[in-house]
C-alpha cells in the first residue's frame, strides 16, 4: 500500500509489538530499524546487543513474542550448566541466541564494524528488513545506583525494580556519531517512527548520537508515548525518566524528544495533556491493538507525506 521506506527508532520490548503490527501493512523491505546500542556488552565471549538481536529475531520470524526478547523455543543447556559449574550469567542466554552473539563477536574480532557484522547476520538469517545499529562506536550506558555503576542491560535484567537510579552515565567520552548507513536510510525514508520504547534507556541514546537530531528535523517524525498517565509506568522506565530530569509522563517524554517530533501520539485515556498531540489507543497487549495502532500511524504518515 505504501511506496517509501519507514524507519523505526529503537527495538525494545515496548516498541517491538508495534513494529510487528506494522509488518502486517508494509513489506519487510520497506522497514528499517535503527537500534540503540546503549545496552550492548560482551557476555561469556559473545557480543550481546539486545535491540539488534530482538530486531534480527523479529524479522527472522524467530522472536519469542511472549516476552519480546530471545528466540522462541530456544534451549538453555549452556546457561543452565553454567549455573551449576560457575556463577551463571546476568540473565538467561539461550543456546541459539548465544550462537548469534558468538558469531557477531567473531565478526567484530575479525575487524568488521558492528554495522557490517549485523548486515552479514541479516543476510545469514535471510532478513528482508534493514537492521542498523545507530553507531559503530562503543557507547554503553552505565546506571549509577549510588552504590555501584551497572551496565544498562544488567540493570534492566537483574536489578530489583526499586533500585535507585542516581544518574545515567555514558561510558563514551563524547557522543558517538551516527553511521553513514543510518544517515542514508533516514534520508531515504518518508517518515521516522519512534515507538513506545523506554525514552531514557533506548530513545534518548539514539537521539543523542552526533548528527541524529539534525537528520530528524528534516524528516516527518511520529513519536508514540510509552506512558499513559493513569496506568502505573514500569518502575525502571520511571526511575530512568527521573534520572533524565523528567517525570514519567507524556509531557515529560515530549519535552525530552523536543522539536524533532512532528506528530506526538498519546493514549486517548492519558490525563496528562500534551498540546497538539494525536490521541489514539496505544495499549499493545494484543496483536489486534498493535495492528490497529500501526494502521492509524501509517494513515497519518500517508496523509502528511503524500
Amino acid at each position: 500500500m505504501y511506496g517509501g521506506m519507514i524507519t523505526f527508532l529503537s527495538a525494545t520490548p515496548g516498541s517491538l509489538p508495534f513494529i510487528q503490527g506494522v509488518r502486517q501493512i508494509l513489506y519487510d523491505t520497506e522497514i528499517a530499524v535503527v537500534a540503540s546500542t546503549a545496552g550492548d556488552c560482551r557476555i561469556s565471549g559473545g557480543h550481546v546487543a539486545p535491540e539488534v538481536d530482538a530486531a534480527l529475531f523479529l524479522f527472522a520470524g524467530i522472536l519469542d513474542t511472549n516476552r519480546w526478547w530471545g528466540i522462541k523455543g530456544d534451549t538453555y543447556a549452556t546457561h543452565n550448566y553454567l549455573l551449576k559449574v560457575a556463577g551463571g550469567e546476568p540473565f538467561p542466554i539461550g543456546d541459539r541466541a548465544r550462537a548469534v552473539q558468538i558469531a557477531r563477536a567473531a565478526l567484530l574480532d575479525a575487524g568488521l564494524t558492528l554495522t557490517e557484522a549485523v548486515r552479514a547476520q541479516s543476510s545469514s538469517l535471510k532478513i528482508g528488513a534493514t537492521v542498523l545499529p545507530v553507531t559503530d562506536e562503543e557507547c554503553g550506558l552505565l546506571i549509577d545506583t549510588g552504590t555501584e555503576r551497572l551496565p544498562l542491560l544488567t540493570y534492566l535484567m537483574t536489578a530489583p525494580s526499586d533500585t535507585e537510579v542516581r544518574e545515567i552515565v555514558s561510558a563514551a567520552p563524547a557522543p558517538p556519531a551516527v553511521t553513514d548507513e543510518v544517515r542514508a536510510v533516514i534520508e531515504g525514508s518518508d517518515a521516522v517512527v519512534i515507538g513506545p520504547s523506554s525514552p531514557a534507556a533506548s530513545v534518548l541514546p539514539i537521539l543523542e548520537c552526533a548528527g541524529m537530531r539534525d537528520l530528524l528535523r528534516d524528516r516527518f517524525v511520529v513519536a508514540v508515548s510509552p506512558f499513559r498517565g493513569g496506568v502505573a509506568p514500569d518502575p525502571k522506565d520511571a526511575a530512568l525518566m527521573y534520572a533524565a530530569g523528567e517525570k514519567p509522563t507524556s509531557p515529560g517524554v515530549s519535552r525530552l524528544y523536543g522539536d524533532i517530533v512532528d506528530v506526538f501520539v498519546q493514549d486517548r485515556h492519558d490525563p496528562d495533556e500534551v498540546p497538539g498531540s494525536l490521541r489514539l489507543e496505544t495499549s499493545l497487549l494484543h496483536r489486534r491493538q498493535a495492528e490497529s495502532l500501526a494502521w492509524d500511524v501509517m494513515a497519518v504518515i500517508r496523509h502528511a507525506v503524500s
Binding site: R42, S44, G45, G46, T75, A77, T78, H79, N80, Y81, L82, K84, V85, A86, G87, D95, R96, R98, A99, V100, I102, A103, A105, A106, A120, Q121, S124, L125
Partner: protein, 300 residues
C-alpha cells in the same frame, strides 16, 4: 599417591582403570595444556577437560572427549551463521569453556580455575595443568604453521608435516603444584599418550625432568610396531626427529624412566622393557593394565 602424566587420549583409558582401584584422592594427574586455545570467545583446554570429565563421571567414553549426552545447538547454529568451529563444542561443554574463560579473564590462574571447576564437578582426584603460562604446539606444514588441534581435528592429520614446534611468550615453567605432586608420589606413571604432543610439552616445562629423575617413573609406550594405538603419533614422531616406535618413545624418556612398558604384540625389542597388554579396548583391559602397574609400584 600416584601422579600420572597425561594427554587427551591413551592415558585417560588407563585412568579409567586406576580410578576404580585407587582412592580417587590418591590420584594426581599432570595434564598437557599445549593444545589449549581461545575458541568462540572462551577457553578450550581439551586434555584438562577430558581428564576432568573422566573423574566427574560425565566423559563421553565413546569418543573420549566431550560430555556424555551433550547437545550441540549453539555449535550447529553457528555453522549456519557462517562460523565454523572446527571442534564440535557441546552446549554443556561450552559452559565449562565459558566459566574457565571468565576466570582467566579475571586474572585467575589456569591451575586455580581447574581446581574451581573440579570442585563444582565433584572431582576428587587432583587435576593439574602442567603450567599456568600459555604454550602452544604447532605443526609445520607447506601451508605454514598450524595449531595442533587444527591439524588433528580439522584436517584429521591428513596434511604432510615436517616439524613440531612449541610457541610461547615466556618459557613454560611447571607449577609448584605439579612439582609437589611428583615429589610427594609413591611413583609417577607416564601414560600411553602421544609422546610428542602430549608428554613432551609436560617434560619441557622447567623443573619436570629434574623432578622425574629423582622419582620412580613407569612409562607406557603408545606404540605397537610403528603404529600408535590411537592418535596421530607416527607422523609427529618423525617430524619431531624420533623414530615412530617404542624405541623412539623410550629414547625421549631415557633419562628418567625406571620401568618401560611395551605391548606384548610390539615387534620392536627394547632391552629391559616389561611386556604387558596395553590395548585398553574395554574397561576390563584398563583394569588389568592398572592392576599390573600398581603391583609394580606397591609390590602386591
Amino acid at each position: 599417591m600416584i601422579t600420572f602424566l597425561s594427554g587427551g587420549t591413551g592415558t585417560p583409558k588407563l585412568l579409567r582403570g586406576m580410578r576404580e582401584l585407587l582412592e580417587e584422592r590418591e590420584i594426581a594427574v599432570v595434564v598437557n595444556t599445549a593444545e589449549d586455545m581461545w575458541l568462540s570467545g572462551n577457553h578450550l583446554s581439551p586434555d584438562v577437560d577430558t581428564v576432568m570429565y573422566l573423574f566427574a563421571g560425565i566423559l563421553d567414553t565413546s569418543k573420549w572427549w566431550g560430555i556424555h549426552g551433550d547437545t550441540f545447538i549453539t555449535h550447529d547454529l553457528l555453522k549456519r551463521l557462517g562460523i565454523n568451529e572446527f571442534i564440535a563444542v557441546g552446549d554443556q561443554d561450552r559452559a565449562i569453556h565459558v566459566a574457565r574463560g571468565e576466570m582467566l579473564r579475571n586474572g585467575i590462574s589456569l591451575t586455580e580455575a581447574t581446581k574451581a571447576l573440579c570442585k563444582t564437578l565433584a572431582v576428587q582426584a587432583t587435576v593439574l595443568p602442567m603450567t599456568d603460562s600459555p604454550v602452544t604446539t604447532y605443526v609445520r606444514t607447506k601451508m605454514g604453521e598450524m595449531h595442533f588441534q587444527e591439524y588433528w581435528v580439522k584436517h584429521r592429520g591428513d596434511v604432510a608435516i615436517d616439524g613440531v614446534v612449541r610457541r610461547f611468550s615466556e618459557p613454560p615453567v611447571a607449577t609448584e603444584e605439579v612439582i609437589e605432586a611428583i615429589e610427594r608420589s609413591d611413583a609417577v606413571v607416564v601414560g600411553p599418550s602421544n609422546p610428542v604432543t602430549s608428554i613432551s610439552p609436560i617434560l619441557e616445562c622447567a623443573g619436570v625432568r629434574e623432578a622425574l629423575r629423582r622419582q620412580r617413573v613407569i612409562a607406557v609406550s603408545p606404540f605397537i610396531g610403528d603404529a600408535p594405538v590411537s592418535g596421530p603419533a607416527a607422523a609427529l614422531m618423525r617430524a619431531f626427529g624420533k623414530e615412530a616406535s617404542s624405541a623412539g618413545t623410550c629414547s625421549l624418556y631415557e633419562d628418567f624412566v625406571d620401568v618401560f612398558i611395551q605391548d606384548i604384540r610390539d615387534p620392536v625389542a627394547i632391552e629391559g622393557a616389561l611386556r604387558l597388554d596395553t590395548l585398553m579396548v574395554n574397561r576390563g583391559k584398563s583394569l588389568d593394565l592398572a592392576k599390573n602397574i600398581l603391583s609394580l609400584i606397591y609390590g602386591c
